[in-house]
Assembly symmetry: C2
Homo-oligomer: 334 residues x 2
């Protein structure tokens, strides 16, 4: 299909045509062939004016926290409210395993077959940056097709939470009601990214969940007080990250989750931060892709490639200063 | 002076010649003139076989924690033990203020005039990466001149702690005996870098200091348990970061600080991790300089420069996808 035909299918097709065109468009965007890439860029540029209307929701949490159960419950709740829901994923480990956290659609058995839902597994090739780029582009396709809530799921691997927080309007962290879990999230810098912290499986041990809520609330307050302006993800004067308890399995608390999301969106919109966050994300994204491409070109430059091994060995052996090695290699790259 | 003369002065000069040659060598290395840079590279390469014998000690802590008092006490203690001590600094804020955390030598009035000590303020130009590079090179000059303990001080600004941890054998974090300070250090990722945590001013309120020690010990234990292998700075099976109490003002605890440092060095040496850490640092350093230079070249490329503004505007306005903008700009850079 040509970019024009894909555009028509995605934006104006019947539901069945739309679904088919979306799958083909995302596959085209995931391709690394230069001619596909050029067609993909053409498609993206025409789709862009039709995007941006959805709420982009990032959801993260360690394996076992119950992300799939929660996303299924949330998705069905939103569809019942009249929304159309897309679920995407960023899973850098899929590039190693070939599998994907969303590869198995049976994980969300009701949502995955619903006509108002579109579920797409994580792309499974390239670096985290590459995986995130393809997910970001898939998000635009979903928005152009009229999905008004786009959920981007990630598992806590490496820097994938940062990548997801940087492509969504709101980043939600799912936690278990266990002591010490919040410390790991603080350490990894994930707690700091969270606009909303959700304690799942609160029904199993309500006392533990209440203790966890108090602990996380206190941590968030201290993180806000000691905010590092260089990394300020949100202005705590405007929005102080909330903590809520839910039980995704029993379907309890999904409504209060969604009203917290809507409250956040309204506050952000009223202060102009909703649009500002998207602009900042787009600019940062552009630079991230430029940096990654520059480094790849450098490594693939024939003269650099020939000298890189010996220079690295000399640096490791302590016979060549690291900064001198860098300058010598850079001189070859012209 | 030629690189050869500087080499002779630094490595074989009388104490007075050495001090003069060191100052000139470091000034040469700090210069951004291409001919100076070439001479600097020549000098560094000849100095390199004479470096590496010193213990490289990073010291960080927020303003007011008493770093200068501590470093002065430590430096004088080490000189009394027969060592020669160099003190350098990484202060990215000096590029803004033009000043430097070590500019005022009266901060260490006894150490700064001691003939066995060499104190050099932070370079005050360029990015954090540039400042760190110059400090790293100054460290090599000090080592070649026979200083066997090199202390690199930094204040908690931005990513400067990471830069210092990445150029030293051991990273020590000074803390005040205040509740909540440790959380900030955890959040900023600095606690995770620490091989040793020092609670200063312990004499003022011994009970608070003991509470802080217990709190930090518990945090370090949890950080170790929940270690993120991607960012593991040390193998807690080999070295579990220690916490000690001192009073730099009263000179209390400097000896136990130094014996903890020696214990750490011995453990690291016995496991081969001392050399491995330096090798890893050198390689990472080379790549950091390459990345920074590639980005600078890109920004300064005439065609990129002409297109960067309009492309960024289009990305911010939402008329050009960020990834497409990145690819268009990269096509201009050839």
């Amino acid at each position: 299909m040509t970019p024009e035909a894909l555009f028509e299918g995605v934006v104006r097709g019947t539901p069945a045509q739309q679904r088919r065109a979306m799958a083909k468009a995302i596959t085209l965007l995931e391709s690394t062939r230069p001619d596909h890439r050029a067609q993909g860029d053409e498609l993206l540029t025409t789709l862009l004016p039709h995007t941006g209307q959805a709420l982009r929701l990032g959801i993260s949490g360690v394996p076992g926290v119950g992300k799939s159960t929660f996303i299924e419950a949330l998705g069905l709740y939103l569809i019942a409210q009249g929304h159309r829901v897309a679920v995407l994923a960023v899973d850098p480990s899929s590039t190693v395993s070939g599998g994907s956290i969303l590869g198995d659609k049976t994980r969300m058995e009701h949502l995955s077959v619903h006509e108002k839902a579109y579920i797409r597994p994580s792309p499974s090739s390239g670096t985290l940056g590459g995986v995130a780029e393809k997910t970001r582009e898939a998000m635009l396709v979903c928005e152009a097709a009229g999905y008004d809530v786009v959920i981007v799921e990630t598992v806590g691997v490496g820097q994938s939470e940062t990548a997801v927080a940087n492509m969504t309007d709101m980043f939600c962290l799912l936690q278990l009601p266990n002591a010490g879990d919040d410390l790991q999230a603080i350490k990894k810098g994930v707690m700091e990214l969270a606009d909303l912290v959700v304690i799942n499986k609160a029904d199993i041990d309500p006392d533990a969940a209440t203790r966890a809520e108090a602990q996380i609330t206190s941590s968030l307050r201290l993180l806000g007080l000691h905010g590092n302006p260089d990394h300020a993800h949100h202005d705590t004067a405007i929005w102080h990250p909330k903590v809520i308890q839910i039980s995704a399995l029993l379907g309890q608390g999904v409504d209060s989750f969604w009203s917290a999301v809507c409250q956040y969106r309204d506050v952000q919109n009223a202060n102009g931060r909703f649009a500002a966050r998207r602009q900042g994300q787009a600019k940062a994204w552009m630079w991230e892709r430029i940096d990654a491409a520059l480094k790849q070109r450098f490594r693939q430059h024939p003269q650099v490639q020939a000298r890189l091994g010996p220079a690295t060995d000399a640096v490791l052996a302590g016979t060549l200063p690291a900064s001198t090695a860098a300058r010598q290699l850079l001189e070859l790259f012209d």
